[in-house]
Amino acid sequence: MAESLGFVGNVEYRHVYSQRSGGAQYGRGSTEKDDLLIVYAEAFERDADREDFSLEAMIAHERGHQILARHPRIAKCVTGIPAASEEILASVLGAILCNRESDRLTLYGKAVCDLLVCGQDSESAERQIQTLLETLEAML
C-alpha cells in the first residue's frame, strides 16, 4: 500500500500503540532510501472503525510528509515552516495521492479542521486549503 502511494524507503510495523502518532509516522533517513514509515497497532483499529481514517488515508498522509522532505521543488518552499503547517500540507498532499474519493474527503476535512484550530473562519480555511491544493498539484 505504501509503495502504491509512492513511498520510498522502509516500512515497518510495530505491534505497540504509539503515544500520539495516531497510527503511523514518517521518519527521515540520511537518504530517501533510508526513510522509514512506521505503522502502529492503532492504525488497524482505526481502519476498522467506520467513523475514523482508513489505513490508506493514514499512509497517504505520511507519504505527504515524505514529499515535503524530499520533493526537489516542494521541499525548498517549506523549509522552516511550523509543524502545524506541515501537518496541513501533508494532509493536502495525501489527499492528492489517495485512490478512493472517501479517503480524499477525509483528508480535506482534516486539513480544513486544522486551520480552524488556528483561528480561521470556515470559508477562509476552505479557500486557503483550495489554494494549497491547486499549488501543490501544479508542483508535483
Binding site: S21, S102, G109, K110, A111
Partner: protein, 67 residues
C-alpha cells in the same frame, strides 16, 4: 503524523464551525467561490464528507421479526 483526533470529532468540529445548517452554509461558500472564479473542490468535498456522514447516521438497521 495524522494525530489521534478521530474523524468523527473532525466532522463535529467542521459542523460546529459551519453553524446551524452546515450544508446550506457550504452551498453559500461554493456560490461565493464560483462568483470569485475560484476553485470549489475543497468546499464540495467537505459537503460530500458531511452529507455521507449524515446518511450513514440515518441508516437504521433492519429489524427482522420471526414469524
Amino acid at each position: 503524523m495524522i494525530g489521534t483526533k478521530k474523524l468523527s470529532t473532525i466532522r463535529k468540529e467542521l459542523e460546529k464551525a459551519l453553524g446551524e445548517n452546515p450544508i446550506a452554509e457550504l452551498d453559500r461558500h461554493i456560490a461565493n467561490a464560483k462568483r470569485d472564479e475560484e476553485g470549489t473542490e475543497i468546499m464540495e468535498g467537505l459537503k460530500k464528507f458531511l452529507q455521507r456522514a449524515q446518511k450513514s447516521k440515518r441508516r437504521k438497521p433492519r429489524i427482522v421479526t420471526k414469524r
